[in-house]
């Protein structure tokens, strides 16, 4: 068995065992924390596809987190509370948005690409703020959580937890298949050496745009999950601080690895929790910590596990 497979088996067992253990210990808070970690891991996995494997420094990925959440919130506002309708809409809306943003952005590269993706995310953020009907700056509570014809009650913390676990594993597996497929090879080749890729006949644009759309759609699912997790939607989900957090998860965890995003999400959330316990001004410590980690610790946590 490969190290990677072993890693994921262990992770699955640990995460599956967490709710009963946490309940037994009287610490339901950890179910919540782990659930949040898994949802963000899905978002980070989607970013890893385009950033880690594709080399596209998209600083606007949180836009899809916000868009997915708002799809759920807005549909719920108008009485459509069925998850069967909401979640596909969230995914498709994000795919469309990613296609539009990507079509313009991916023609550029380097510094331009970073700034442009950031700008478009900000645009969506401002859009969210200006929609007074849905709470504007403050955001709004969900009318109700997404319903699934009675099959699943997202209000039940543990059921929802296992759903997130299942979806996270699915997202990781799908990404794994994609990056090892012909499509994934082209994406990775283009990151490795664009001139060489063009010389053998690959047109980078179409592959990058496709990856961008896939990543956006996957992150939209994470957004839908997040809205149900917090039972609240706010424009802050699409802020660039959130985008930066996602990027850090990908980098800290280890780019271009399947375990990276989860490890990164885990590390960042744990660091936040610990620091929050010390001081309310935890960001003044986290900031320099992140700086140092980038300067000195580029290979990421997955490098330790070789996963």
């Amino acid at each position: 068995m490969t190290r990677g497979a072993l890693f994921w088996i262990v992770v699955t067992i640990v995460l599956a065992a967490l709710p009963p253990v946490a309940s037994a210990l009287g610490q339901p808070f950890y179910i919540d924390l782990a659930r949040r970690m898994m949802i963000l891991a899905i978002a980070a996995t989607s970013l890893n596809l385009i950033l880690g494997y594709g080399g596209m420094v998209s600083f606007g990925h949180a836009a899809y987190l916000g868009l997915g959440a708002y799809a759920v919130g807005i549909l719920g506002f108008y009485g459509v509370t069925s998850g069967w309708a909401q979640w596909p809409v969230a995914i498709v809306a994000c795919a469309v948005a990613a296609a539009a943003i990507g079509a313009v952005s991916i023609r550029t590269s380097g510094i331009y690409f970073i700034m442009i993706t950031l700008a478009f995310t900000q645009m969506l953020y401002y859009l969210g703020i200006s929609l007074e009907l849905f709470g504007g700056d403050d955001g709004m509570r969900l009318r109700s959580r997404s319903t699934f014809s009675g099959l699943l009650d997202l209000g039940n913390a543990v059921s929802f937890y296992y759903l997130c676990l299942a979806l996270m594993l699915l997202a990781v597996y799908v990404t794994y298949r994609i990056v090892n497929s012909r499509f994934g090879m082209v994406l990775r080749a283009t990151k490795s050496n664009e001139a060489r890729s063009r010389a053998i006949g690959f047109s980078p644009y179409r592959y990058r745009l496709t990856a961008f759309v896939i990543a956006g759609a996957m992150c939209g699912l994470a957004g839908a999950l997040y809205a149900n997790h917090t039972n609240y939607i706010t424009p802050g989900l699409a802020s660039w601080v959130q985008s930066g957090d996602l990027m850090f998860m990908v980098i800290l965890g280890g780019m271009a690895s399947t375990a990276g995003p989860l490890l990164g999400a885990f590390a960042l959330l744990i660091a936040e929790e610990i620091l929050k316990g010390w001081t309310e001004h935890w960001q003044v410590i986290l900031g320099p910590l992140l700086v140092l980690s980038v300067i000195f610790f580029k290979r990421g946590l997955a490098g330790i596990f070789h996963a």
Binding site: V57, V104, I116, L131, V294
Partner: protein
């Protein structure tokens, strides 16, 4: 919607535009010459604003506040370059983005620790308060006109330096071909430090002037920074002329859009719909503009390379 109102908003747009220019000029040079993505540029703007306010409050003198804001930002900028940014030269943009992002978190929180999270109150000396009468008949704040004048003066000064001095020639050469300049034996490190200092000073100036007009609070840097990015993308990286043109365009479009889009829409569609769509569309306007410019010119209006 009278002509006087339009003109007033136009002036507001120009004033906002020159502030964007001050930020954009420094940043576009740093991007073009040093190939450095510095997200913490907004933090320098914030530092300028806070130091100016703090200086004025502590000494009671506006001039002292301005001096502190300007000089203090320069010092903070140089420290930032020395400590956090030097290791980043030559490293890929991803690293630069992540490190400067960490700096933003740090500075925002540091400011919050010292001055709290609320907005700071700033006061103007009497000679900068008050209004003047415009030829249109309406009255306009003196201070905003002063800001506009200062901004234009800086633009003229920059134009002079860049086109008429040896330093300016090096800057233009560095923006078009960095390696060539280094190969010619110019002290690149020194050039980088000077360019970065330039940028920091301009950001500090924009910040200290911004205090009386815009909210002075943690995170104010990032709000303007993203618009500065739009300016640079439209104008073209490395081009000061592009920064000026882009800044004026963005400043005017954004201001006029926010002021007049809703009333304009209301003449075409129902009032409640305009009420909802107007502000939303207005906030998206400059980004849509950016998308349009990019579709036609992927490297900006004034590409330097």
């Amino acid at each position: 919607m009278t002509w006087a109102l339009v003109f007033e908003q136009l002036l507001n747009g120009l004033q906002y535009g020159v502030m964007l220019f001050l930020m954009a000029a420094g940043l576009t040079l740093v991007l073009g010459i040093m190939n450095l993505v510095n997200l913490a540029h907004g933090s320098l703007y914030m530092v300028g604003a806070y130091l100016a306010v703090a200086g004025t409050q502590a000494t009671g003198s506006y001039a002292a506040g301005v001096a502190l804001g300007f000089a203090g930002t320069l010092v903070v900028g140089m420290a930032m370059e020395l400590v956090a940014l030097r290791p980043l030269y030559g490293r890929d943009h991803l690293d630069q983005v992540l490190v400067t992002f960490g700096l933003i978190l740090f500075f925002n929180e540091l400011i919050a620790i010292i001055w709290g999270r609320g907005s700071l109150y700033t006061s103007l000396p009497t000679w900068l308060q008050g209004h003047v009468n415009l030829f249109t008949g309406s009255r306009y704040p003196v201070y905003r006109l002063v800001v506009l004048a200062v901004g234009l003066a800086v633009a003229a000064l920059l134009w002079y330096v860049v086109t008429r001095t040896r330093l300016g020639m090096l800057i233009r050469a560095g923006a078009t071909n960095r390696t060539m300049v280094a190969a010619l034996g110019i002290n690149i490190r020194l050039l980088y430090t000077v360019v970065f200092g330039f940028g920091a000073a301009l950001a500090g100036l924009a910040g200290l002037m911004a205090g009386p007009i815009y909210a002075v609070q943690p995170g104010m840097g990032e709000l303007i920074l993203i618009q500065v990015f739009v300016v640079i993308v439209i104008g073209g990286i490395g081009s000061i002329r592009g920064a000026l043109v882009g800044a004026i365009i963005v400043g005017v479009v954004d201001t006029l859009g926010r002021a007049f889009l809703r009333p304009l829409l209301a003449t075409m569609i129902s009032a409640p719909a305009a009420e909802a769509a107007g502000p939303a569309l207005a906030s998206m306007l400059i980004y849509l503009l950016m998308a349009v410019v990019l579709a036609a010119r992927p490297a900006g209006l004034f590409q330097s390379r």
